[in-house]
Structure formats: structure tokens, C-alpha cells
Symmetry: C2
Subunit: 415 residues, 2 copies
């Protein structure tokens, strides 16, 4: 088993070759990876069976076991996702700006790979192939460090992908897997300065907090989403109902789901019963402040911990607010700068909300569930950034690039 | 004296007002700051005299004392730099992308302030006003932490600027100064998560390394520059001479100065004497490998430490290389990914060098001294990024912004 430093060196070395590989070569690698995953699916399913066995022995919940499980059909799905990346536009050597100075120097800013991308993730083995595909396409090598629950699956998937790289004459080390799944290996990766150009955590709040706290390498913080929907006094109540219902119920386990609704007091008596009916019919628990509980007798009283909480479940917090500023204040205090929405028919209120709410995505009159690389038209994504440097919102291929100035002269010197 | 957390809270609170201030208001603040600095120049010069007195008592070199010194003329220069920023284009609310999805959602990506920018810098008091001006213009509040050598000057400058902010009805805390100049205050700032959105160190290698190693807040690494100029076998030797002379001698103390020349062996006997003569005439010491010393008898032998060294002085390392790949390998091993140059008449070699050298700026046939916000046409700069995330090369106003997706709907929900 290679040490982290050895893995870092190997990934850096491979990066020098991958970073200058043509887009045809990178796409060829992705096609070989997809084909290889299908060919190796029996081996991968066998390895996955071991993880499932240990998972059952260690009392993983049925939901977690389901996320962990791979069968031939799921592997086909993973392979197809890899093929989808082939068809996305090449993110490299895009001309980001170009100008000619008075002295004749031509300065072009172009996109280049970031270098070595490290990804720390939890139980889902599909992340292994998804992340690797996006990194290869963008000319980055990747160091993957998955959770111990999926280690056998991850090893099998990584071995298959490395074999595919070799088959198209690219270094196997374009994809490196950290086989040590102890906490020490995660912390080591967070401090692998000089080798890791960016670390992206994919997982729950605990993982992300640990990465932010412990990393000395550059990090793109992702994921945690406590999203709010504010129903303004001028809102169409049917539209508000439809949007909140979708944002909460369509897929409650994800980061762009709505966790809290804020209702303007002037519209609360009219809007809340409609919204609550739909939610309650779908077995959503409503945890409301005093005023909400007065209007909706089926609501449970919220406690302080309910504000800012990411339920990822069929639960929603609800508060009646005095005005738009109170809504903005609540979001400032409890939001995670992910996705925030106002439902309103007042254009000025919409603009005011958009200007004053600081989040990756601010919506007027639409479900926060749209914050997603696929929905936004970026193709696949490697996560959703909730930080403000480098990239914000869905991280697609362009967000996996850095830049470089190319300066063309004819002997110019500085005066 | 406020604690760091109190300063962080104050800067965050001010940021919510500044981030939505109009460009007219931000420019008004800059004009007031420039005017205030002139009006307060007597007070600032008096405070500076204290720093100079302590500096002399503590044995600061003449060069450092000169960098520290402020007089009315220098303060006028600082004020004029602030006014220059007024005339730069507004970096906020630029539309970075816009698209309409099939479902009718309109998605605009616009530039917004980063939030709270912390700057840790060393002895130069002009950095206080320069950094603050760029931050205010880009809607960011700033926490400044200068060195102890300039604390009295920095206090006077910060007080003047804060007064100016108040005079235009913006919060004084848009500009916060850390008055505690102990190491603990620097380290505290590096870990002020939740308040500091980005930390930019401006100073020498030791400061930058400490910031990278100790920070848990996001950092933009700046500055350290070991730049190379490679003279290809097809180079015009006169052009090579002119470029290397300029890159070394025009201002040796800065990060984009050339620290090492690499000469193709086929051209070494022809090019080296010419280049060396100019450098030696300007009292530049040449530290060469064996082959260089064979050709140039006035050269001193280089030791291992000379490769990759940032002299910031009238010294240059020199090596004869077998081919372009050896030059690229040397730069990979010893460079700091700042600015690298090839002098060549061979277009293929130029392209190969540009593709394979990974640096903020890669030059063909021009002096590396051009890597500078002013020269590149960005207006002023707050530093030169040598990292790969967020921004690379000169950090101008646009690089001091983040982004936000604005999503305009009419009731769309996800299917």
C-alpha cells in the first residue's frame, strides 16, 4: 500500500502527462473507462457483496445499504454517466480574455487544469467513477478517498478504471485511490500541500466541517444546504404552495430541498392553510413558531434548534415574519448560502431580496430544487460549492479548471 | 481594543451595507478617503515619525526605513492611487453568464463582493490605503493587519479612512485595523472562520508560508516568484540579452524579476558572452553551473541552493541545458508558478513551452517584468496569485469578486 506522499507524487507525475493530453485522448480514456466498468461488472458486484455483508454485520440502515448496493444495472448507469461526460464541451484552453497592449504584447487568458484534485467522500461507490470522469475530462488527476463502508467496491472500480487508462496509454495514476480508510488517511490528505491542488469533500455536515477545520490544502466547501422559501405578502398563494411542496417533497434528502418556509404576516392566514394542507397530506411534519401553530393546529411547535436545521427529511420549519427584512435577516442568520427563494408578484420586492440575500443561488418564483449542475445546463457536477472563492453553486467541468496567462511578445521589455 | 472576533463581527455587519451600496456611493467613499488622507497628512506624518524613531532604535536597515517613511508627497501619491481606483470600471453585477432553460427559467450569473477580505502585510504603510481602496471599490469590507514596524502610521491612516467613510454615511467598520501586532493576532486572523471570507498575505516568503500552513480560512497565496528565462537554440541572441537584462536589472527586488537563466547548449557559446557582458556591466553577479563557468570566466560557481532561489538582488543563476525538456524540467522543479519565459524564433518550441510550463504567466519573447496588474490592464492590484484556485496572476478588482446565480421563474418546479 503506497503512502499518501507516494500517492501525491504519483498523481503529480501523472498530471504532467494528462494536463497536456488532447481532448480526443481524454475522451478516449472516458470511453475505455465506461467499457471497462461494464466488462468488470461481475468483479465489482462481487467486491460490493463483501461491503454489503460487512455493512449488514455492522448494522447499517436499509437506506444506507441501498445507497451502497451495486448490481449490473447500477454499474451500467455509472458507465452511462461516464459516457455522458464524453459529450460535454472540452473545458480546457477556453480563451477567457484576450487583449493587445499598446506595446504590442498579446495577452491571452486561457483555462487549464487545476492539477491534482482530491475528493473525500462517504458511502456511495458511484462517486468514485463520477468524480474520476469529471477530473479526467478536465485534465486533472484525482486522488479518491472513500469511506470504509465501500472500500471493496471502490478498490474494484478504481482498479477497473486504472486498467482502462493504461489501455489508452495514459498513466494509471491519473486515478489514485487511498486504500487506507482510517481517519488518519483523511487528515493526511487534508494536509498534503505541494501535491493536492484542491480538496473537495462530498458528504455530510460532519465531513465538511472536518475538512474545513483541518485542511491546509485549498478546499472547495460543498454541500450543506439549509434552504428557505419566503412567501411575500404579494405572493400568488397557489404558486407558493406548488413551489414549497416541490422544494420540500420532491426529494427531501438532498441539499437543495427546502428546510424552512417564512411567511409574511399579511398573507399568513390565507397562504398557510393551503400550503400546510398539501404538505400534511404528503406526511410532512410542520414545526412552526407560535403564529404558525395558531393558524395550523396540526403543526408542532418549533424549538430553537429547528431554525437553521438541515432535516433532509419529511419535516419543514415554518415562521411568520413581519416583513421582507425579517425574512432576509432570518436567512442571513440561519442559511448556509446555498439556495434561497422568494415567492412574490412584486418586482421591487424580488429585486430587493435578490440583492440582499447572499447565497450561491437566489430564486424568485421557482423551486430551489433546480440548483444542480444538470438542471443549470452545466452537464454533470462534482458538488455544489457554498463558499465564495473560485466557484459558487454547481461545480461543473469549467469549475474544475484554473487559468493561465499566455503572453506573446517580440522582444518587449518594461520601461 | 476590540478582540478579533469583535472585529470580525463588525466587518461582517458593515459588509451587509457596503455589499449593496451603489457604485456611486462606493466611489464617493473613495473620493472622501483620498481627500481625507491629504487633510490628515500632518497627523499621519507625525505618527509615521514615531515608527521611524522606533525603527532606527531597533536597527532597521536604511532600505526598510525608506519603505516605511511617509512624507506629504508620498501621502499625496497614496491619495492619488485611491483616486485612480475611482476611475476603474465597477467590478460588481457584471453578467458572467446568462441562459434561459427549456422550462423558461432565466439563470443569470453575476459578480458580487466576496465579503470580508483580510490582508496581512509587512512594513509598507501604503498597503493600508491601497488594499482598502480596492476592497471598498469591490464592495468588500477589509480587516487589515500590518506589521508592528508601521503600527502608528497604519493607525493614523486607518483612522483617517474610517472618518471619511463616516462622512459619506457608510459604516466606519468597512475598514477595520487589527491594532494588536503580536504573532497571536496574525494567527487568530488566519482562523477567523465565519468572519473572514478570504485572507490575502502581502509580504515575503516567511509570511506567505505561515499563512498557508496555519490558515483555516480560505487563502489566496501570493507573491513568491522565482522566475526563469529560457533561451532556446533558435533564439535571437540580441533579443535574449535585452529581455534577460530587463527582467533582472530593471527592478531586482520584485517577484516578477528573473532569478535564473537557462541556455540551450547549442547557443550557449554564442549567447552567453553577450548576455553576461551586459549583466556584469550592471554589476550583476552570475552564479553558473560548470558549463556556464567555462564560457564566462567572471561567473561564480552555483551551489545547489542557487537553483530555485529568489534573490531579489543583483544576482542571477545560470545553467546550460541539453534541450527544451530539460529547461521545462528545471522550471517544474525549481519554479514557483509565477512567470516563466522562453526566447525563441521557433513557433513550435514556443507553443510546446507554453503548454508544458505551468505558471500564472508564460511568456514568449518578452520580459517577465510585465506580470503586474497595471501592465496587464487590470488597473491596480492587491497582489499576484501563484495558486491555482479562484485567481491566478495579478489580483485586480474582478478577482476581488465572487459570483451568485439569480434565477427568475414563474412558478417552475422540478419534475
Amino acid at each position: 500500500m503506497r503512502t499518501l506522499t507516494e500517492l501525491g507524487e504519483a498523481a503529480k507525475k501523472a498530471e504532467r502527462i494528462l494536463s497536456v493530453a488532447s481532448k480526443e485522448k481524454r475522451n478516449e480514456a472516458l470511453c475505455a473507462i465506461a467499457k471497462g466498468l461494464i466488462e468488470d461488472s461481475k468483479t465489482i458486484v462481487e467486491a460490493n457483496a463483501l461491503d454489503l455483508k460487512f455493512g449488514r454485520e455492522n448494522g447499517l440502515t436499509a437506506a444506507l445499504l441501498d445507497r451502497l448496493k451495486l448490481d449490473e444495472k447500477r454499474i451500467e448507469g455509472i458507465a452511462n454517466s461516464v459516457l455522458d461526460v464524453v459529450n460535454l464541451p472540452d473545458p480546457l484552453m477556453r480563451v477567457l480574455s484576450e487583449n493587445t497592449l499598446k506595446n504590442g504584447l498579446v495577452i491571452k487568458k486561457v483555462s487549464v487544469p487545476i492539477g491534482v484534485v482530491a475528493v473525500i467522500f462517504e458511502a456511495r461507490p458511484n462517486v468514485t467513477a463520477d468524480s474520476a470522469a469529471l477530473c479526467i475530462k478536465s485534465g486533472n488527476t484525482v486522488i479518491l478517498r472513500g469511506g470504509k463502508e465501500a472500500i471493496n467496491s471502490n478498490k474494484a472500480i478504481a482498479a477497473s478504471m486504472r486498467k482502462a487508462l493504461k489501455s489508452v496509454s495514459l498513466p494509471e495514476d491519473c486515478i489514485c485511490l487511498v486504500e487506507d480508510t482510517t481517519r488518519e488517511s483523511a487528515k493526511g490528505l487534508m494536509c498534503l500541500n505541494g501535491y493536492v491542488d484542491v480538496l473537495i469533500p462530498r458528504g455530510g455536515k460532519g465531513l465538511i466541517e472536518s475538512v474545513v477545520k483541518n485542511s491546509t490544502v485549498p478546499v472547495i466547501e460543498t454541500g450543506a444546504g439549509t434552504c428557505h422559501t419566503y412567501v411575500d405578502k404579494s405572493a400568488d398563494t397557489d404558486m407558493a404552495t406548488k413551489i414549497i411542496f416541490n422544494a420540500k417533497v420532491q426529494r427531501p434528502s438532498v441539499c437543495n430541498a427546502c428546510e424552512c418556509m417564512l411567511i409574511h404576516r399579511d398573507i399568513a392566514e390565507k397562504a398557510l392553510p393551503k400550503i400546510a394542507k398539501e404538505l400534511l397530506d404528503a406526511n410532512v411534519e410542520i414545526r412552526g413558531d407560535e403564529k404558525v401553530c395558531e393558524i395550523i393546529r396540526q403543526a408542532n411547535p418549533a424549538c430553537d434548534d429547528d431554525w437553521g436545521r438541515e432535516y433532509n427529511d419529511y419535516i419543514i420549519a415554518a415562521r411568520v415574519v413581519d416583513d421582507i427584512d425579517c425574512a432576509i435577516e432570518h436567512i442571513y442568520r440561519y442559511g448556509t448560502m446555498h439556495s434561497e427563494c422568494i415567492v412574490t408578484n412584486d418586482k421591487e420586492a424580488a429585486q430587493y431580496f435578490m440583492n440582499n440575500v447572499d447565497a450561491a443561488a437566489v430564486y424568485v418564483n421557482a423551486s430551489t430544487r433546480f440548483t444542480d449542475g444538470g438542471e443549470f445546463g452545466l452537464g454533470a457536477e462534482i458538488g455544489i460549492s457554498t463558499q465564495k472563492l473560485h466557484a459558487r453553486g454547481p461545480l461543473g467541468l469549467n469549475e474544475l479548471t484554473s487559468m493561465k496567462y499566455l503572453v506573446y511578445g517580440e522582444g518587449q521589455v518594461r520601461g
